[in-house]
């Protein structure tokens, strides 16, 4: 189409960057939290439900107190409670963490919708924008670079988490529990205690990711608010090889890929939009297959994870 050309290419790129920055935060928070949980040797597949509970409770608290940041905190606390529920159930003998996760996924989504019924109409205060594009006079560039503090917190959190995992006593303990429960038991560590802490922190992060959905982007409480972000983030953890820094790139890449469809259509390239819609999933699949091996387990995978046993 004639609308293509130089400006078209640039505006597509700009739209993808802007969209990646807007969309990726929930993926980032959920995958950071899940990295921590999985490092302790447990999988929490219920994060989609935690995300919805976080989104709902964050919206409710922000509405009640008038402060979106208190909403984020409330969402985190709800998420942590859900994490503890998962950890509590999994600490019982012969309970499978994947099955508990799926149950909590369905329960959390349904419960959030049930409790969130009166929240559809009122409008809660929204988290503020940070204008990273203040130096530019291009309105589309400024719009693309308008981000939220949570994204920046999430990006800073990643190296902090990596450092904690590798340089602190608690990090070592967590990795020991995740790599060999027998060794940890021999050292006198409370395996369930460590895993409960890790799952609760993971739940806290997922709750915050949910608050981002309801309080910033798209910034409303609706019943179908989450469209698989919580579940995809679990895949992103594997994709990121349980490395928090990689989680940042995985989340941004996934966010950018999901922006391809609307960005191309906006400049007039409208054929094959279903294909572009599938792009992030195809990308994840291709990268997972490319990096898989039949000879050894995934590099970085905690050996206590039930998928590795």
């Amino acid at each position: 189409m004639s609308v293509g050309g130089d400006i078209g290419v640039w505006s597509v790129l700009l739209a993808i960057v802007g969209s990646a920055l807007r969309v990726s935060t929930p993926y980032l928070f959920v995958s950071l939290g899940e990295t921590l949980t999985e490092k302790s040797g447990r999988i929490n597949l219920g994060l989609e439900g935690t995300l919805m509970m976080g989104a709902m409770s964050g919206y409710a608290v922000a509405l009640g107190t008038g402060s979106p940041w208190l909403g984020v905190l409330g969402a985190g606390v709800t998420g942590a409670a859900f994490g503890l529920l998962h950890a509590g159930l999994c600490s019982l003998p012969r309970v499978n963490d994947i099955a508990v996760g799926i149950a909590l996924f369905i329960f959390g989504t349904g419960f959030a919708v049930y409790l969130g019924k009166p929240l559809v109409h009122p409008v809660a205060p929204r988290l503020p924008d940070i204008d990273l594009g203040f130096w530019s006079s291009l309105p589309s560039l400024r719009a693309a670079l308008q981000v939220n503090a949570l994204l920046i917190i999430g990006i800073l959190l990643a190296p902090a988490m990596l450092w904690i995992l590798h340089n602190t006593r608690w990090g070592l303990k967590l990795r020991t529990v995740g790599d060999s429960a027998d060794a940890a038991r021999a050292l006198g560590y409370s395996i369930n205690g460590v895993r409960a802490t890790a799952t609760a922190i993971g739940g806290f992060f997922a709750g915050v990711g949910g608050a981002f959905l309801s309080l910033y982007y798209p910034g409303a409480w609706t019943e179908n608010l989450s469209s698989g972000q919580g579940l995809m983030a679990v895949t992103l953890v594997i994709f990121a090889r349980w490395n928090p820094i990689n989680c940042v790139f995985a989340a941004l890449l996934f966010g950018g890929a999901s922006a391809l469809g609307p960005a191309l259509q906006a400049v007039g390239i409208t054929s094959n939009y279903y294909l572009y819609g599938a792009a992030p999933y195809v990308l994840t699949l291709v990268l997972l297959i490319r990096t898989s091996s039949t000879k050894h387990r995934l590099f970085g995978a905690p050996s206590e994870l039930s998928i590795n046993k």
Binding site: S11, G18, S140, G219, A220, E223, N224, P262, T270
Partner: protein, 376 residues
């Protein structure tokens, strides 16, 4: 889960799209006349305050109850499965409902099943699927939403400063393209310089994708947006945040955008009051009713605060044009956006020509985008 059901709802509609051409049939089966106030049951697939399809029916339900004096019973979140059969039977047997409004498209096969079993109950379905041979105690009705989209387009064409307006569509289906064409034709009827941009999200309602589509359209310079998402709440709020004008869909969404709201394309399900009255008094009723403003099946939302009087009167004039059938949506000469002549000079498509409308696979001149559908 909601999405799943919605899809079924539409799939059924597409499958039977050709049936919509059938026009309306009148039925006059002998039946008892009810003296006491009737009980009317409404069944929703989602929640009735979703700022979308379900809310439009809930609004209609209240108007029907008020107009006919009927008692209203309601149930939300009824899946398009055998569940709806149980809900309908319980409304008939326990609540004594004499008229049922199962509002989701995918309820259709269950309606047909129960209608044969309960001939003394009237079943009113939103969809336009009834055909000769279906039970006489069933009504299927639906509105031509492209007409109110045309009205929104007029407002958009007059209010845009960038001469670019945006349309967010959920799926590449004929009625979505009709709506988009209505929007574009309306805008270009008052401002030939207008280009409309279309984005298809691929999901009936996906808040993140809806918001992203609106953001992309605004980034491309669109300053009036309409979103045909099943839950347009997020699109309207995003447009408001970006400081552009927005038009609603399904029901009155003016409260979501106090600054930028223009008007909106609405269903007028309250038309169902006529059916309730006819059923109560033993009068005649149509089994199939598809129409626009003329048949009183669609409406426009109250104008937003920012709308100038000149725009209001132009929009209302177009609405009256549809109502008295002097204004036709599709008339020649009409080109599509690939420079093919669709209608020759002097060719006119009647507003209730469902056969033409269900076959729409083109976007009119001035639209940037493609339908992705095969051309004949």
């Amino acid at each position: 889960m909601t999405k799943q059901h919605n899809r079924t709802r539409r799939q059924i509609l597409i499958g039977s799209g050709s049936l919509m051409a059938a026009g309306s049939f009148l039925a006059a089966a002998p039946r008892p006349v009810f003296a006491t106030p009737m009980t009317v049951g409404f069944i929703y697939e989602g929640s009735k305050d979703d700022f979308g399809w379900n809310q439009s029916h809930a609004v209609g339900a209240r108007k029907i109850a008020k107009e006919t004096g009927a008692k209203l019973v309601e149930q939300e979140k009824v899946p398009e499965t055998a569940d709806v059969e149980r809900v309908m039977e319980s409304m008939i047997q326990l609540d004594g409902a004499q008229v049922l409004f199962p509002t989701s498209f995918g309820y259709w096969p269950f309606i047909l099943k129960l209608a044969a079993k309960y001939p003394k109950v009237l079943f009113v379905h939103a969809g336009g699927l009834w055909k000769q041979g279906d039970p006489a105690n069933v009504i299927s009705y639906r509105g031509y939403m492209e007409e109110p989209h045309y009205c929104c387009g007029i407002a958009a064409g007059m209010m845009t400063k960038t001469n670019k307006i945006g349309f967010v569509g959920p799926k590449p289906l004929y009625f979505i393209f009709n709506n988009c064409n209505g929007f574009t034709l309306g805008a270009r009827s008052v401002n030939p310089k207008v280009t409309s941009l279309i984005i298809i999200t691929g999901d009936w309602a996906n808040p993140v994708k809806d918001a992203d589509a609106v953001n992309n359209l605004v980034d491309q310079g669109c300053d009036v947006i309409i979103s045909d998402s099943d839950a347009p709440k997020v699109s309207i709020e995003t447009a408001e945040r970006r400081g552009v004008h927005s038009c609603g869909y399904h029901t009155d969404l003016s409260s979501l955008a106090p600054k930028g709201f223009v008007t909106g394309a609405e269903w007028n399900w309250a038309k169902g009051a006529d059916f309730v009255k006819a059923w109560q008094t033993g009068g005649k009723y149509p089994n199939l009713l598809i129409g626009g403003f003329k048949q009183d099946l669609v409406a426009i939302s109250p104008f937003g605060r920012s709308v100038p009087d000149a725009v209001k009167s132009a929009v209302l004039k177009a609405r009256d044009g549809f109502t008295n059938d002097t204004l036709k949506l599709y008339h020649g000469p009409l080109k599509d956006n690939e420079d093919h002549l669709v209608l020759k000079e002097g060719e006119v498509i009647a507003n209730d020509d469902s056969a033409f409308k269900t076959k729409v696979n083109f976007l009119v001149e001035g639209t940037q985008g493609q339908t992705g559908l095969k051309k004949q």
